[in-house]
């Protein structure tokens, strides 16, 4: 019963995703489509954090480290190779490998949760400051200048089989949306697999998981690396959406926003962080077009309201409302049925008496 409802939910998400994927470019303006590509990249960053934090219990405050790493690796490789397919693969590999290396020291060093947050945040800020200081002509990798504060150019994605054919913004949107759907359903599959179940168990109680014979460190390392890879995919898309990669991808604003997206959308779900990222992105760009309120103040207010009123986030809250209303209809139906039964009993009793 529960499983059936889950599958229906997933099918609905898939249909909505596909409709947006193929419908949006025909309805929306080109400018919005390009912006949406960036938003999808950010949604992937949120998804990756939702996976490692929501399902692995790993509060990574610097998920942007792998996000920015993916974006930079993509830009540098694309400039050097002259084609982008290899650059994408290297970018994803770079995000995942960097996460694996960092994760190895953190998980096998048995670092507690608070320090894990501090370390990951520090790493992303170190990368931010490091890349800001690479403005001279001596800082280059192959033929790609790192460009310091201004960052470096990110060539748009090309058709894999023909390096001369660049993707148009519309096609880029298809690719982005496809990547998002692929990663989302990949995550759904992952958390339903045995691996994912064990990760959830470790989140719930690490000691018990180890006493059952599961090596918690390995599972966390695996999940963290996968999260790093997904964040890197997001980085590649944002690099494409903006057309440049800058040190800002590593900065505190993105690092903190990723946490906010997950909190607003709902920790412990996969859909929540994605919707949270889209919602907050839309809100920020809308606030940017008006001049009545300071946009940061409004965002702060939104976060405070969410933490106070919907501490579990948007998606779980909607889920529980749906459940309650469903129970209400079921109980109303039951009441109607029993009333009808009583009525039938009374009439049959009356006929018996006569």
């Amino acid at each position: 019963m529960k499983l059936k409802r889950d599958i229906v939910g997933l099918v609905v998400i898939a249909i909505i995703g596909l409709v947006v994927m193929f419908g949006a470019p025909h309805v929306l303006q080109l400018f919005t489509i390009i912006n949406l590509t960036t938003a999808i990249g950010l949604a992937l960053l949120a998804l990756s954090l939702g996976l490692v934090w929501g399902y692995g219990g790993i509060l990574c405050f610097g998920q942007t480290a792998f996000f920015g790493m993916g974006a930079y690796a993509y830009a540098i490789c694309a400039q050097n190779f002259g084609q982008t397919s290899g650059a994408v693969i290297i970018a994803i590999g770079a995000g995942a490998t960097f996460a694996a290396m960092l994760g190895y020291f953190m998980f096998f060093g048995r670092i507690s949760e608070v320090y894990l947050g501090v370390i990951t945040l520090t790493v992303t800020l170190i990368l931010f400051n490091l890349l800001r200081r690479t403005s001279g002509p001596e800082y280059k990798i192959g033929s790609a200048l790192l460009g310091g504060f201004n960052g470096t150019n990110a060539p748009p994605l090309q058709v894999p089989w023909d390096a001369q054919l660049m993707l148009f913004p519309q096609q880029l949107f298809y690719v982005s949306m496809g990547a998002l759907l692929l990663c989302y359903f990949g995550c759904v599959w992952l958390i339903r697999s045995q691996f994912g179940q064990v990760c959830v168990a470790i989140r719930e109680n690490e000691v018990r998981a180890e006493l059952l014979g599961y090596d918690a460190r390995l599972y966390k390392l695996g999940l963290f690396s996968i999260g790093g890879g997904i964040a890197a995919v997001g980085g590649v898309l944002v690099a494409n959406g903006i057309g440049r990669v800058t040190p800002d991808l590593f900065n505190l604003t993105y690092a903190a926003q990723a946490i906010i997206w997950v909190i607003v959308g709902g920790r412990g779900t996969l859909l929540g962080p994605v919707l949270g990222a889209f919602g907050v992105f839309w809100l920020t760009s809308w606030l940017g077009t008006q001049s009545y309120f300071n946009s940061n103040m409004v965002l702060g207010l939104v976060l405070i309201l969410f933490v106070l009123l919907l501490p579990r986030g948007l998606v779980p809250a909607i889920g529980s409302i749906a459940k309650v209303s469903q129970q209400r209809t079921v109980s109303r139906r039951d009441r109607m049925r029993s009333r009808r039964r009583v009525a039938r009993f009374e009439t049959s009793g009356a006929t018996d008496a006569t």
Binding site: V200, R203, E210, L211, G213, Y214
Partner: protein, 239 residues
């Protein structure tokens, strides 16, 4: 024929800074045995238990389980030897259902289909079948203890280490737990740390008394109850 030694510690010592919680403990458990560890508060039972299960790394000495020296092993490595462990505070997956909890224990050693079968059987054994879809966090204390016991049993261990399995249970719950433990003993050797004297009388064959970090005496429960030294350090305070 001499019986096989399944757990042995040699001059095991555990120090925390200047405090010595265990001092030169030489302990032996034979195959098929059910051994209770008792002792006054701070006698070093739980520290000793944690050294056996890998939750603490002993400062000196060795732990040998069957023929493997496990000194310095991590808990998951000890569990991989086929040892079932239940800790003092119930360590369960609160956010998951009873069934998911037990399934995770089964799935570690079995393929998916066998895991489901064993999971169902285990739930029947501990009489938790009716609660299978409930979240463990919402259960009563005694039931949570049974969930943890079920997870231990599900892996079909040959050696079971339990730290206060009957803590906080009602008399009836304690009786059922004692029954379960006797059943486990049919296929596995056990070491049980316990405070509840009635519970120990119900299950124990041989008892090891800890006092000030070392083993004071090892004997049957009757002999220990009659021993004047033990009465003095431990039981004496009770009467």
């Amino acid at each position: 024929m001499r019986r096989e030694v399944v757990v042995e510690t040699r001059d095991l010592s555990m120090r925390f800074g200047g405090v010595s919680a265990n001092e030169n403990v030489n302990f032996r458990l034979f195959a098929g045995e059910l051994r209770c560890l008792i002792g006054p508060n701070g006698a070093g039972k739980s520290t000793f238990f944690k050294c056996l299960t890998g939750q603490l790394k002993p400062s000196a000495g060795q732990v040998v389980i069957r023929d493997v020296e496990t000194t310095g092993f991590d808990p998951h490595q000890i569990a991989q030897l086929g040892v079932g462990i239940k800790t003092q505070i119930p360590n369960v997956f609160d956010g998951l259902t009873v069934e998911e909890n037990v399934w995770l224990a089964c799935r570690r050693w079995n393929d998916a289909r066998r895991a489901r079968v064993i999971c169902a059987q285990t739930l029947e054994r501990v009489k938790l079948g009716d609660l299978r879809t409930r979240a463990v966090g919402a259960l009563a204390h005694g039931q949570r203890q049974w969930v943890e016991l079920a997870m231990v049993i599900a892996a079909d261990p040959w050696l079971v280490l339990l730290d206060e399995p009957a803590a906080g249970m009602t008399d009836e719950e304690t009786r059922f737990t004692a029954e379960l433990i006797r059943e486990i003993n049919r296929t596995a050797s056990l070491i049980i740390v316990e405070h509840d004297m009635n519970f120990i009388r119900a299950i124990a064959k041989k008892v090891t008394v800890f006092y000030r970090g070392s083993i004071l005496i090892e004997d049957t429960m009757d002999a220990i109850s009659a021993d004047p030294v033990v009465r003095d350090v431990y039981l004496g305070h009770k009467h």
